[in-house]
Symmetry: C2
Subunit: 341 residues, 2 copies
DNA sequence: CTTGACCCCTAGAACGTTTTAGGTTGCGTG
DNA sequence: CACGCAACCTAAAACGTTCTAGGGGTCAAG
């Protein structure tokens, strides 16, 4: 009796041994029955099921994994405030389940770093991790890749230990610029993703497309969140240098752009056209339907899971070492229109 | 060599025993050092740390939990497409970490039911679960509550085995109605949450407030997602019975309302005022700032974690059995204005 | 009657930790 | 010199599973 045991341990849950005792059989037999493995008589099978149900027995996944030497677990690091990541997670659950793997999520928040998020996935003995839009350094990602099969989503990074799944960002921004030019726009600004994953590729795509049309590129610093879009527009307004079209880094950023334009009494798309990137559930629906470059979250999730499993099971799939590229397409909604200047 | 072993098990990770062998000490000592417990000489301490680092050793959280008889794990069930839930998760991580607990997330998606989400939390041997806006039956929730400490968030349900944390929904809708009435509105429609958790309470709050002002209530069936808000407005339009103000079940629903109003050329707030509920990160920012009833996700998360831990540690805290009620407030932004009819 | 094959079942080891119960030192003291 | 006491260390058990190896039956074939 020390001071420390003020906090009592929680009640013990019922175990395989409890069921075995109650049913008058060995634990091995109960294990068999619970897994649906062959080798038990119908009578015993029925009895074990009944007792298990009565006692509310649920197998301990940790003990199981420990014994089996493998967890059948796919770890997913994601950013909790990114709607696009939510779409990816939906797809990951579906694909993983189909392949017989479980999923463990580890969120990045304002107060929980990517390091910590990845650390818990390692401690949970995931067999592979899927990192959605990681912002960590290439070196740290490579170290993770060296430890266990790692698939990086929505970020350009080239390393033998990392399998990459991403959208064709250059192509995506090309589509967006083409669309705007087709509508007569010539002063097209890119509010970029600053240091976000794949921001560099999207800048490149923007510059290339502008060059193709003989137009002058102009990039304003943005970011992945709404606030960044807002601030970028505020800067443009303060410089009295508003373009006729804005190409945002992603949908949340585009939302910020729209928000500030609206507050400033500038009408969309009459005065300024706006395009996003992602086509998330959320953005697609909001007030003025956002014209955006769609990258298929479900398809990317399926590719990521497929690669993760290939790596785990060491199928020598050469595809895994090539970037998995998803082709984006443009979804035209209400935030783009003909240039009136 | 059978056909089945085409899929090889993944590479073995380095274990405590590996470190012990390499450092020439016992596993017990390595365990001591890794946990920072007293009883190791400085020399050995240093050596063990070095070897562990060299081998990239990460303790196996499952084996640890298994041995200790407790997981120190808080399970959280949430709906992946609900921005408000993301806000809650941020808070849960923070509060849990402060209290020395780890968090395991289990998402509900289109293809992953609440049953399944809760099932994995049970199998993971969480010591308590926090269910965010569960839609399951009262009976099933009670059964979960009977198995392990359970905190239900954002839903009204009365049961001795369930601890509830929620906003004062009645009060919240009262604030919203008062605000609208203050602006001169009299034809105020509530697009409700249909069968969603706490939808009933919000309906009640709406009816009570309307009655207080001597106004005729009108409720249109909605839901928790954007699509539901859109459809509700379509119905109102088709009946040619548009009110001057709409009170939506939550922010996503309000977004749907705004979306369809806009597509129909109806201006907000000039012709119709709109109010949401939640005040999520996302909704707060979008184009036209949404006037909404704010429920503090961080505060609710902290309360939930506090209650979960009280229950785990059997502190006989009578508070736990009372509903934890967070007082909402109204955040006035751009979607409400004076009634012009 | 023996043999072998099959079916059903169980004992016990193993997974990677933590913890318990001790076992060695070395050293200061009587 | 014997004793006691720290300080440091380790062997072995335990957690809840799964899996291996094998033990008894029963039955048909030799």
């Amino acid at each position: 009796m020390t001071i420390e045991d003020a906090g009592t341990a929680p009640a013990r849950r019922t175990t395989l041994a409890d069921v075995a005792r109650q049913a008058g059989v060995s634990t091995a037999l109960v294990s068999l029955v619970m897994r649906g493995a062959p080798g038990a008589s119908p009578a015993n099978r029925e009895k074990v099921f009944r007792v298990a149900r009565e006692l509310g027995y649920v197998p301990d996944s940790r003990a199981r994994a420990l014994r089996q030497g493998r967890s059948q677990l796919l770890g997913v690091m994601f950013h909790v405030q990114q709607p696009f990541h939510a779409d990816v997670i939906e797809g990951v659950y579906e694909a993983a389940e189909a392949a017989g793997y479980d999923v463990v999520l580890s969120a990045v928040t304002d107060s929980r770093s990517e390091d910590k998020a990845i650390g818990t996935l390692l401690a949970d003995r995931c067999e592979a991790v899927i990192l959605v839009a990681p912002q960590s350094s290439r070196e740290w990602l490579a170290e993770v890749g060296g430890r266990l099969p790692t698939v990086v989503l929505v970020r350009h990074v080239r390393h033998p230990d990392l399998s990459v799944v991403r959208a064709a960002d250059m192509k995506g921004l090309g589509l967006a610029v083409d669309h705007l030019v087709g509508l007569g726009h010539r002063r097209i600004v890119h509010v970029d993703g600053a240091g976000s994953p794949s921001a560099e590729q999207r800048r490149r795509g923007y510059r290339a497309a502008m060059a193709r049309h003989g137009l002058e590129p102009r990039i304003v610093r943005g970011g992945w969140a709404e606030i960044n879009g807002s601030q970028a527009v505020e800067q443009l307004l303060s410089e009295d240098d508003l373009p006729t079209a804005i190409l945002a880094f992603n949908d949340p950023c585009a939302n910020g752009v729209l928000s500030t334009l609206h507050r400033s009494g500038i009408s969309v798309p009459e005065e300024v056209s706006v395009i996003g990137f992602d086509d998330t559930h959320l953005a697609g629906f909001s007030h003025i339907g956002l014209t955006t470059v769609r990258q298929d979250a479900g398809q990317m999730a399926r590719m990521a899971v497929g690669r993760a499993i290939s790596l785990i099971e060491r199928k020598d799939d050469p595809e895994v070492h090539r970037d998995g590229v998803v082709v984006p397409d443009l979804v035209v909604r209400g935030t783009t229109g003909p240039c009136r200047q």
